[in-house]
Amino acid sequence: MSGHVDYFRALETPRLARLSHNLVAAAFPLMKLMPARYILDRAEACGELKAGAHIVETTSGTFGMALALLAAARGYLLTLVTASSLIDATYKARLERIGATVIAIDDPRGDGNQPGRLDCLQTILMSDPECFWTRQYDSPRNWLAYARLAEFLVRAMGKVDCLVGCIGTGGSLCGTGTFLRTLFPDLKIVAVDTHRSILFGQPAGKRMLRGLGNSVLPANVRHDLIDEIHWVGAYPAYMAAHQLLRLHGLFQGPTSGAAALVAQWVAKTYPDAQVAVIMPDEGHRHADTVYNDQWLAALPGWPCEQPSVPTTLSRIMPATESEWTRFSWQRRSLDDVLATQSLR
């Protein structure tokens, strides 16, 4: 697209990297700009979001960063509601410097206190009728936004046989996958989650790999699109991120590492398939952790042996942070899968 200056459209556009003869990575600087911009654009167009209005969301992750940048550029007030356990001081300071108000509520149980965050958000919504909630968990605009990514992949690759991506809200993988599968009905969709995320039937628990997975189930996770689910522990994800940097010069975050690990295995397993993998953010935010040897050395059990293949599960269960498991989901609903699991 030429002739038009649009910084955020450029910033939300991934760079494509060929990782092997049949594997293309869409490496984003900040993927969440794509849904954030689309949600704000649509809300502005429909009159739901008025000039100078107040935007709220419950997030401390990259969606909050994307909203903060857009709110600053477009003159909106922004309040992000998060939990004290989920946000580090540096990131909070960065969001506040952009102009966002960050409310970190107490989290005595250490599970993110989503009910408490929603209560706080409701209070804000009640106090200001012009307030707009972006609803990345449930708004169809989250997944609809990824038509842009699907278009981008199709222009570059033509037919896509297999799509690999992380699942947090489900927007990116289920959105891109919906559009690509409309074009190519045989498209195989492989989801990447982490142990102790409840999205694909594991019991909730402490998760070390952040950015993907969830302790609540967003409506934007559409299980019946998913052919295969992988759970990647934090350590293999970190190591895969290091490898992306050393072997391909790609400086991406740990969820990109997890996605790359799975995608490389998928591409090797199906050498005749054209595989695309979504990589959601860059490594800068993780420079003091995932890319810091001292931080890594303090992790229990680090370094571990990097698994080269996943362990196939017939019964869904959590594993350690050094493990990588997979399960053949076969486009079923969560209830259907859980029903078969309880029969075992």
Partner: protein
């Protein structure tokens, strides 16, 4: 605004005194509906109704414009008023507003099925009028005048060049990257062959999901043209046709789709404001003609009307 840069050659002055004798002729091709039609975003984020026309060079309209000293443009047949308006607008575009002439149109294109007979008359008239002044207009100027004359028009002024064309604005939203690949199209009429009054159709209201899907179809069509891939193009056409089923349904469309799938076709396209259905084949593929014959027979057997086999963008001399 149209500047002098829009005309390839400088027109000679208007005729003065004595009857003018300069005669221009112009031709324009028909089409077989669209490969893709929907709503698309431009670089500024604005949405435009736009389409990719499937050109059909075999059917043509031919117009003759004779310069006269009359103060008006007369047209034959008389009811081709949009063509006459196109001639007037062309005269104004050339710098001779109000000049007179006699326009006559002879067209082989059936009316009311989605072959674009009206646009073909209009485009032929614009070209004939310009030719009477020794001017060859660019496709962009022809298209803009055509839209001004008839409100909405197809992209046939671009001939075999694939463009995403905003049919109500007369502008190109995206050049898809060259000519269409060579295709065989088995065309026929749905809905018992009844013509449709396109002027009475209200424009489709598309959902957000459809608009987002059009974005992906546009990418697919662009890839298909750049790589000359009839299968990707057929896929884009099929999905556009399926969306069209929600807005202007064609009877037995799914039967056509089934015939296409069973015979290994590239896809199915439709006239989004007409009754035409076309099953798309790769003309360069071995056995394409046998496939076309089998598809044509199946379509006739099932009761589709006026089954014909068209060649699209075939290389000359083949």
């Amino acid at each position: 605004m149209t500047g002098a840069g829009d005309v390839a050659q400088r027109p000679e002055p208007p005729p003065t005194g004595g009857p003018a004798t300069r005669i221009g002729t112009g031709r324009a091709i028909a089409h077989h509906g669209e490969l893709v039609q929907g709503v698309f975003e431009d670089d500024n984020g604005r949405l435009h109704r736009a389409l990719v026309t499937l050109p059909l060079a075999r059917l043509q309209s031919e117009a003759t414009f004779t310069r006269t000293n009359a103060a008006a443009v007369r047209v034959r047949p008389q009811h081709r008023t949009k063509a006459a308006e196109a001639a007037r607008l062309t005269l104004a575009h050339l710098g001779f507003p109000g000049a007179g002439g006699a326009l006559s149109i002879a067209s082989a294109i059936p009316v009311g099925h989605g072959y674009g007979s009206s646009t073909a008359d209009v485009v032929a008239s614009i070209r004939a009028t310009a030719a009477a002044y020794d001017v060859k207009l660019r496709a962009s100027s022809v298209s803009r005048i055509a839209v001004a004359a008839e409100g909405a028009s197809d992209a046939i002024a671009y001939e075999d060049q694939a463009v995403l064309f905003a049919q109500r604005e007369g502008i190109v939203v995206e050049e898809l990257g060259g000519a269409l690949p060579a295709l065989l199209v088995v065309g026929f009429k749905a809905n018992g062959g009844q013509p449709i009054d396109t002027l009475r159709l209200t424009p489709a209201r598309y959902s957000s999901e459809e608009i987002q899907l059009f974005r992906v179809l546009r990418g697919l069509a662009s890839r298909a043209v750049r790589l000359q891939d009839p299968y990707l193009l057929g896929r884009a056409a099929t999905i556009s046709a399926q969306i069209s089923q929600h807005h202007l349904p064609k009877q037995h469309f799914n039967i056509a789709l089934d015939i296409a799938n069973r015979n290994g076709a590239c896809g199915v396209q439709v006239a989004h404001s007409g009754s035409l259905i076309g099953i798309i084949l790769d003309l360069s593929e071995k056995g394409a003609h046998q496939k076309a014959t089998a598809i044509a027979e199946a379509a006739s057997d099932i009761g589709f009307k006026d089954v014909e086999i068209h060649r699209v963008n075939e290389e000359a001399g083949r």
